[in-house]
């Protein structure tokens, strides 16, 4: 397998690792107020 072909496989792993680092440093906020049901 040549370098560019192999790069696809390890490239995916590298992206996943970088994403992990970014998410770990992120401050994520979700508005979790209870929804009012329309019924």
């Amino acid at each position: 397998m040549d370098f560019l072909t192999g790069m696809a496989y390890w490239g995916i792993i590298v992206m996943v690792v970088i994403n992990g680092i970014i998410v770990a440093r992120m401050d994520v906020t979700v508005d979790d107020d209870e929804e009012q049901d329309g019924e």
């Binding site: 397998m1 995916i12 992120m26 906020t29």
Partner: protein
Amino acid sequence: MMESLKENWVIWLLMAFYLAFCFGVGWYFRAKAARGVNDFYVAKRQIPGWVVSLAFFSTFASTNTYIGQAGKAFSAGLSWAWVGVFWTFFCIISWLLLGPRLRNQTSALNSVTVPDYFDFRYQSSLSTAIRILSAIVVLFATIWYMVGITKGCANLLETLLDVPFAWGVFGILASTCAYTVWGGMYSVLWTDAIQGLMMFGVAILMVTLPFIYVGDASELMTRLAETTHVTKDGDPIGSGLVTFSTLVSFTYIAGIGLAVGMKQISEPRCLIRFYSVDNAKGMKFAMLWTPIFLGISLVCVMGLGALVHGMATDEEAFVLAQDTDKVVGFMLAKFDNQLVSGICLAGLFAAGMSSLASVMLIVGTAAVNDIWNVWKPLPQTTMVRATKLTIVAYCALVFIVTLTASDDIVALTAFSGALFAASFFPAIFGGLYLRWGTGHGAFWSMTIGLISCIVWRFKFREEYQFLKDIHEIIPSFIISFVAYLVISSITKKKAPPTEHLDKIFSIGKPERNG
């Protein structure tokens, strides 16, 4: 059929267990889902992050991935995995850029579908038009996707279990429709999560099969590098399976990678997942783990078809090259182990059914909430009932189209992905990030994206040889995004009132006060 039942009883038994589980989940949630629109459509936004994460993965990855794309590597070689690079990239982008914002804005707007998000977010004279147009796009584009998935599953049933194609199509649609209609978003998400776990395991299992069959990893790689097999047209493959972009151009790989990968940032079946995340901890979990589930699975399956060359004779390889959707079925038949085939078949069905269930719900909600209900408002319980009926009717239509459609899975699903990306993404991204984005910008970018996508696919790519490999996603996405920016800036004065924008853009900010 009866002979197949006797011969393959292990596979049938595993399949029966799997289907019983799906029906059980649907039945368990049927009362909860019937309570109203917020329950049936978005599971009351109270689903744990790990469930949503697995559900996103299993919804996005489908038989298109496990059969269509894995099989495509048979003709494209190991460099087909570059498609997976694009997909993983857009999975990350989707969760990082869209996830938290879409969850917060849709909650603030009490939006339960993507088309009604456009309506509530843009608040313009064209809002209703955008809502109806996007619902029509959903109804039109989804059918090709569902046909592709159903075909993949039915082909597999035919190859492995001798089930007649039409019966296979009926079986997959009817069983998925049943549990979706019973439990709505609750059963879709929970079955998706379990299906996601199965798919993750099956991806790892499947990639080991060619290695076990050949018995030696280096021997398998040598067979690939020095294969005597030929392409679909009869040309020798040579070392093409292991060298970059020899068998298909990188432009083509990038086109499929973009068209399908961008579904994660534009297609309602993926975006609707964000609506249901319960809290910040769940969101963060999903942002971290979804790309892991998807990325590792793609590493396993995207080159799988190329590895199958190591299992095939010259004659078998030539037949498979004519229809790469049959490569995975061939691999399982050649490996000839009932237990392995049973587990893989259940996993492949999980891949297909998880995606089908999600889009079934999307078409039902789009037709009822965003077309029927806009035209003639309905009470909540009637809406749920109408949604269920619409899902059943749409499945009947898909059944008929599947029996007559001829294109391959990859082409069908990639085209529907391109339609969504070109018509939805600018309006979603602009809605979430650009305060000055207007309803006019959203409406016209959607219309222009749609038209340019169809024209490029059926006119330019068909008629001009030099444009054949440039997927419609690339020009149509650029054109629609530019249209959104230009038209929004021209119609800046038609942006929603400041109070409305303040309300939706302040949601989710840590410093907000209650």
